[in-house]
Amino acid sequence: MERNEILKKVNDVFIDVLEEEVSIKEEYSSYDVDGWDSLTHIMLIVETEKKFNIKFLSSEIISWENVGEMIDCIEEKLK
């Protein structure tokens, strides 16, 4: 899957969970998006796993600084 396709799908997850028409960028983190708090963060991760049919390691989840790093991780798993 192409990187921008991954980003689009991740954006769909954000829209679904946050119930807002957001347009996220790779450099975004929770500071940049309204409604992205510790609880919705968990939902975002779980729903992303479902969307791509992958499982993140606990250590991976902790390591991301922004959306881009999460996408790196997704890309790796889809190979």
Binding site: V17, M43, V46
Partner: protein, 557 residues
């Protein structure tokens, strides 16, 4: 990992995301309840799911979460925040993961369940003693580290042995205690699988043992219990016959060809009938509503060797060519219970839709197409939650059958008073005692129509009233020539000052309304008060959604 979505759809439940979106609506009336949740982990998702399911069931729930890992201190410390507030419901959830940690650091593993049981016994007793809160206690889901392999089941040193023993001890102990229910999370895990209930990354990163998607089924079961505590429960099943109790159509196939018995799909219908029979044995009223000639339907019950249900199990047998909507309305009139306490089971989606459209409050489960899934589907729906069970439940079918005979006999008399004289009614009146208290408590929980102030009494409340000098409890039973109704009414009187009592509540079973019992009770009350040197009786009617029947009762009497 099994696709949880597939499992959830089968159970026919809301998804976690859907639950979060439910909001209170202005056009509905909600019952407000205060709930506390004591747990060893963060339960924010569970809390939100419970609130969402609550809204769907017309509850407006406020949930207070105690700080994590303070189950014991919050309950046992009289100065704790928990003990300084009042909660209608208290939920206690300790995870098996916590229990395992405790087990791992215990020296003497063989006595672990005994020690933990003593701890839980103390917590339960304190909760029961210190307030009127109703408790929902999670049991322990199974975590099997298989340190001993399958041998784990038979060695006292294994965690699974100790966990199962602890669950059993708690079950056994709580069977004698009112105001506590077990949330059987162990069974829930059996249904959806431990790999679906537990999400290791949620656990490692956030300390949560429940996966996001297991919250709906858990919160549904919690709301089922809360509904039961609030006297909302199902009392009756109305059953179709063809392709519901047996395979095929009796009118077309004939008794030799319907599928019922040891071969093939016939087994599934036998299993289904056993399930219905067990519900009948625990006090659920079973009615038949079928589009068939009555003699043809009855014939199967009488003559088919593999029928599990007999005519004795059926309170009302309705089999004709009228519309099921009309038939069900008549059944409701005869039984005199609310449509919302009835469940209609029919394999035919057109019949189901017709009932759903015309009788909105009745519950109509959408049976799966394959009869071999009937029992698992209906058991997953958990339609028959309860928080009480007494001896009178077993006899309920017989009570309704004799009632039907009375109703039929009534149509033979044109004058109501002739009918009543002919009934030859007798009533015994007693003060509250330990033998009649369970039934009186149950009557106060179940009766909605003839219930002057809708006050529900637990057994403990009634024991206090029995022992107190300031109050009286009068208990009335009723017999007539057709049979024994058992205890059907009670009066709770509180002394307000010298020579004066207040009727704290008066309730009567809806089965015996309009038979002159009301007059009998008032007459008896007058006599009783005269004997006790009481000159004034005061009373009050408190309106509720269901008791408009008795609005003018006091004026009339």
């Amino acid at each position: 990992m099994v696709k949880l979505k597939k499992v959830l759809l089968f159970i026919n439940m809301y998804t976690f995301k859907e639950l979060l979106k439910f909001k209170l609506s202005e056009s509905s009336v909600y019952k407000k309840l205060n709930i506390s949740l004591l747990s060893d982990q963060s339960c924010q998702f569970l809390t939100k799911s419970i609130i969402g399911y609550g809204i769907k069931n017309l509850f407006d729930l406020s949930i207070w979460e105690a700080p994590i890992n303070q189950i014991d201190s919050q309950i046992l410390n009289p100065k704790s925040s928990f003990n300084n507030k009042n909660f209608d419901i208290t939920i206690v959830f300790e995870s098996s993961h916590s229990l395992l940690k405790k087990f791992n650091s215990t020296q003497n593993k063989e006595t672990f369940s005994g020690e933990q049981f003593i701890r839980f016994k103390e917590l339960i007793e304190e909760l029961h003693r210190s307030s009127k809160t109703k408790v929902i206690l999670f049991n322990f889901y199974e975590l099997n580290d298989q340190v001993f392999g399958n041998f784990s089941s038979k060695t006292k040193n294994s965690f699974i042995y100790q966990l199962r023993r602890l669950n059993f001890l708690i079950s056994e102990f709580t069977s004698t205690i009112s105001r506590i229910s077990i949330l059987d999370i162990s069974s829930i895990q059996n249904k959806i699988g431990s790999k679906n209930m537990f999400d290791s990354s949620l656990y490692v990163n956030y300390g949560m043992v429940l996966s996001l998607d297991s919250n709906p089924i858990i919160s549904k079961n919690i709301i089922d219990i809360i509904s039961s505590y609030n006297s909302i429960f199902k009392k009756c099943i109305i059953l179709d016959l063809d392709n519901t109790l047996w395979g095929g159509i009796i009118g077309d196939d004939g008794i030799e060809n319907i599928k019922l018995g040891n071969l093939g799909i016939g087994k599934s219908f036998v299993d289904f009938q056993y399930w219905i029979k067990k519900l009948k044995d625990r006090g659920i009223i079973i009615c038949v509503c079928s589009k068939n000639n009555e003699d043809v339907s009855r014939n199967v019950f009488i003559n088919h060797p593999d029928m599990v249900l007999s005519l004795d199990d059926i309170s009302l047998f309705v089999s004709n060519w009228d519309s099921k909507v009309d038939n069900i309305k008549n059944i409701q009139k005869t039984l005199n219970i609310g449509f919302d306490s009835m469940v209609f089971i029919d394999d035919n989606p057109y019949e189901r839709d017709s009932i759903k459209e015309n009788i909105p409050f009745i519950t109509v489960p959408d049976l799966p197409k394959d009869p071999s899934n009937y029992v698992s589907f209906l058991s997953d729906e958990n339609l028959f939650e309860t928080v009480t069970y007494s001896n009178i439940d077993k006899d309920r079918t017989k009570l309704y059958q004799t009632e039907y005979k009375r109703v039929k006999s009534r149509s033979n008399f044109t004058d109501l008073s002739d009918y009543m004289i002919n009934l030859d009614m007798k009533s015994n009146v007693e003060l509250l005692n330990l033998f009649n208290i369970p039934r009186v408590s149950q009557l106060s929980q179940r009766s909605n129509q003839f219930n002057l102030r809708t006050i529900r009494y637990e057994e403990d409340d009634l024991i206090q009233i029995m022992n107190s000098d300031d109050s009286y409890g009068l208990v009335f039973d009723l017999r007539d020539k057709f049979g024994d109704h058992g205890i059907i009414s009670f009066l709770i009187l509180k002394k307000t000052s010298l020579g004066e009592v207040f009727i704290e509540n008066w309730a009567m079973s809806c089965r015996v309304l309009e038979r002159g019992m009301e007059n009998f009770v008032i007459n008896y009350l007058q006599e009783f008060c005269e004997n006790q040197n009481i000159d004034f009786i005061t009373s009050e009617y408190l309106e509720s959604p269901k008791n408009s029947l008795v609005k003018n009762l006091y004026d009339k009497l």
